[in-house]
């Protein structure tokens, strides 16, 4: 086979890839290829969504299929380069999949789109992520980029795109699900000399990362979406409000904005049409509440990010008092695709009221975690078992948490619920921004509720009392229950307090903060009761309620537990059963983790 073939090596350098060591692999791949005297093009791409198999490296030999390698290490990259890049012989044992659209297929490597992880997915928003070089505007353009904005400007009619978006049924992907076309129409009708469009990239839900991935992997799609939105509502200024915790997203976006200016897609006369449009990046400063529209606006204005009462809605009175549209990253990434392929194409995906696809961040106790995009309407079971490959270590599925701190937990009985706005709401949670955290039998539901309340009470901006004090009191009650000090009547108190906070809080943060408590109370009430009445944590998580003991008959006396104990609470001679002194034990669980014979019991 062709030794001299022009070969490309592509390393996945999104945040997940880097976390797994992609930077080292990238550098090493370059060195190895150079040492072998190979003529290769080394490049990077963003997250393709298979975060469970990072580091991902793709090899494309000219004229042949693109092969994706998973869990690449410093050892396997050498083999891959020596065999595949140099000799065009793929290393089957490390190859995850191949994409025959690039050229001649190889034997014995599964096709990418047929992988169990991929074959139920429908990639619209993520179509470029992991495929194009996010730092190259040429790459974006060669994949059909900026065609949509040309089409929209060519109509000369700001309302043209609004009509298409309205007909597509696209709803805001940030959480509330408000129809995007309507939002644009309201703002288009508002009379003002200045208007703004803001991209909300303040992805605060701890457990959701689709906005990060899209900004990192396809920043030009966001710019194009904002251009179309800006043209439609009559805005000449755009802001991207992005979390400071996403440094790579911010730097990729900066490169993209500069390139778009150079090419005339941004500036005083976009594509020579006379339409002026500029984009500024505003870095968030670490406040969850700034995902709320009015708080986000206050933050851009340089103030404390505190929400205000609505109306007036931002579409009438937003940034600096001017009409403003705020769209989420995923929403905007959908826009150019809808314009190019049409409203009918988009609405062919999904259910009657929830059109299109939705990106979910699948994580937690799941075999194949990552970023997935599915047509609305497939079931939770399909997502967790078919795409995600089920629960690791033969543990039992317990619940899936959706919607983050504003959402709830769905149980085994709800696994056949279709994933769309209405069905998930009916089941007692929300789609939210798309976080999906899978919990297994080792997770305590009271602990999970406490975890979310710890988050919301510390992120409450403090403006209104029900949220500021209410979430704090909720947290304190949950804390005492998990400490074994729960009292009779606590559950009723939690419910009553939750209803008050829900009804009386000013913004979405407070109104939804009790949801994790209410949903776990509804679905796992017996776990709460066990904590309060039996002083027992069924999942053996809550420290004050558990004890560690050593099973004498299976303990080999290897001393691993004794060595791991930070407080010297474990005694015993070598090769003889060990003992834990309960008075000294701080219940850190180190011995449980250290024992290879499952002889440490946690109850």
């Amino acid at each position: 086979m062709g030794k001299k073939a022009k070969t490309e090596i592509i390393v996945g350098m999104g945040t997940c890839g880097i976390t797994a060591g992609a930077s080292d692999i990238y550098a090493l791949a370059g060195e190895l290829a150079k040492a072998k005297g190979l003529d290769i093009k080394l490049s990077s791409t963003s997250c393709i969504g298979m975060c469970h198999s990072e580091v991902l490296v793709d090899v494309v030999v000219d004229g042949f299929a693109r092969v994706t390698y998973g869990n690449v290490t410093t050892a396997s990259i050498e083999e891959i380069i020596n065999s595949h890049a140099a000799e065009n012989v793929p290393v089957i044992k490390y190859a995850l999949a191949q994409m025959p659209s690039y050229g001649k297929a190889y034997d014995d490597i599964p096709v990418f789109s047929q992988l169990p992880y991929m074959n139920k997915q429908e990639r619209v928003v993520l179509s470029n992520c992991g495929f194009i070089d996010p730092l190259s505007i040429e790459d974006y353009i060669s994949h059909g980029g900026y065609e949509a904005v040309k089409k929209v400007i060519a109509t000369g009619d700001p309302k043209a795109a609004i009509e298409i978006i309205k007909a597509s049924g696209l709803r805001g992907r940030g959480g509330a699900g408000f129809p995007t076309g309507l939002k644009w129409e309201f703002c288009n009708k508002a009379q003002s000399d200045i208007k703004y469009i803001i991209c909300n990239a303040d992805e605060g839900d701890p457990g959701a990362f689709m906005d990060r991935s899209v900004l990192e992997g396809d920043p030009h799609a966001i710019i194009e979406g904002m251009l179309i939105g800006g043209y439609s509502i009559g805005a000449n200024y755009g802001y991207v409000y992005c979390r400071a915790e996403y440094p790579l997203a911010i730097s990729n976006l900066k490169v993209a904005i500069a390139a778009a200016h150079e090419r005339g897609f941004l500036g005083d006369s976009v594509l020579g049409s006379g339409f002026k449009f500029n984009i500024k990046i505003k870095e968030g400063a670490g406040a969850f509440v700034c995902g709320e529209e009015t708080a986000l606006i206050a933050s851009i204005e340089g103030l404390r990010g505190m929400p205000r009462a609505k109306p007036p809605f931002p579409a009438q009175k937003g940034l600096w008092g001017k009409p403003t549209v705020i769209n989420n990253v995923e929403t905007l990434a959908n826009v150019p695709r809808i314009i190019v392929k049409g409203a009918e194409w988009f609405s062919s995906f999904g259910t009657e009221k929830s059109k299109g696809t939705k990106v979910f961040a699948l994580a937690g106790k799941i075999n194949r975690g990552g970023l997935i995009e599915i047509p609305m309407g497939i079931t939770l079971r399909e997502i967790i078992y078919d795409i995600g490959g089920g629960i690791p270590n033969d543990k039992a599925f317990k619940a899936v948490q959706t919607g983050g701190p504003s959402g709830g937990c769905l149980t085994t009985a709800m696994l056949d619920t279709p994933v769309d706005y209405e069905s998930i709401a009916k089941a007692g949670s929300i789609v939210g921004s798309g976080g999906m955290i899978v919990l297994d039998e080792d997770n305590c539901m009271v602990n999970i509720a406490k975890f979310f309340l710890e988050f919301t009470q510390s992120e409450s901006c403090g403006k209104c009392t029900p949220c500021r004090i209410g979430t704090k009191r909720l947290y304190e009650i949950l804390e005492r229950i998990t400490n074994g000090k729960g009292r009779k009547g606590d559950l009723e108190l939690l419910e009553a307090l939750s209803e008050d906070i829900r009804a009386a809080s000013l913004c979405g943060l407070g109104q939804t903060a009790p949801n994790p408590v209410l949903s776990t109370l509804r679905n796992f009430r017996e776990e709460y009761v066990a904590h309060i009445e039996e002083k027992r944590c069924p999942a053996a998580v809550c420290k004050p309620l558990i004890t560690f003991t050593i099973k004498e008959d299976t303990c080999t006396g290897c001393m691993a537990c004794a060595r791991s104990c930070p407080v010297n609470a474990i005694t015993g001679e070598k090769k003889k059963p060990h003992f834990i002194t309960p008075e000294l034990c701080i219940k850190c669980g180190s011995c449980f983790d250290a024992c290879k014979f499952k002889s440490v019991l946690k109850k």
Partner: protein, 164 residues
């Protein structure tokens, strides 16, 4: 005007960059945070004097957002991700063990100034949970043992974080 250790270079530039634009308090503070690693009191009073805005305006903003530090952090900032995915995969124990190892609570700095321990809400690498960060190095799929081992790399003979 400036105390030892709070050099003024750059502050003029920061101010000049934002002087004309509206809503710049957050941006000024962000640049200060980059410049000094925290928000020095002396820098705030200088900018306050230059702009005529009361220092309380700056502190109102600085204390609202999680990004800003009012105290100088240690040489290595250790961040344990406490997002949902990290929580369900055991980040609480990583945090506990790191705090025990360094004798340092969350938001505190070791007496030798080598480590500051912080929690971060979510870094968005949830499928690689639990995540653990030291300085700019991000580590995924951590266990308490692995995290402690990584930390050892950042200890030098002088300040091993175990003092105090």
């Amino acid at each position: 005007m400036f105390q030892e250790g709070v050099p003024m270079e750059g502050l003029n530039d920061i101010l000049a960059k934002y002087y004309q634009s509206e809503g710049s308090i957050v941006s000024i503070l962000q640049d200060m945070e980059v410049r000094y690693g925290y928000i020095p009191e002396e820098a705030v009073s200088w900018v306050s004097g230059q702009t005529g805005l009361p220092a309380s305006r700056f502190y109102g903003v600085a204390t609202f957002y999680g990004q800003f530090h009012l105290v100088k952090p240690g040489k290595n900032v250790v961040k344990i991700c406490r997002g949902t995915a990290c929580h369900v995969k055991g980040s609480e124990k990583i945090s506990d063990d790191v705090q025990t190892m360094l004798h340092c609570g969350v938001g505190e700095t070791t007496p030798d100034g080598n480590f500051t321990v912080e929690h971060v809400a979510c870094v968005g690498a949830c499928a690689r949970a639990p995540i653990f960060i030291v300085g700019k190095d991000v580590y995924g799929k951590m266990t308490p043992q692995k995290a402690k081992k990584q930390l050892e790399k950042y200890m030098d003979g002088e300040g091993n974080g175990k003092k105090g």
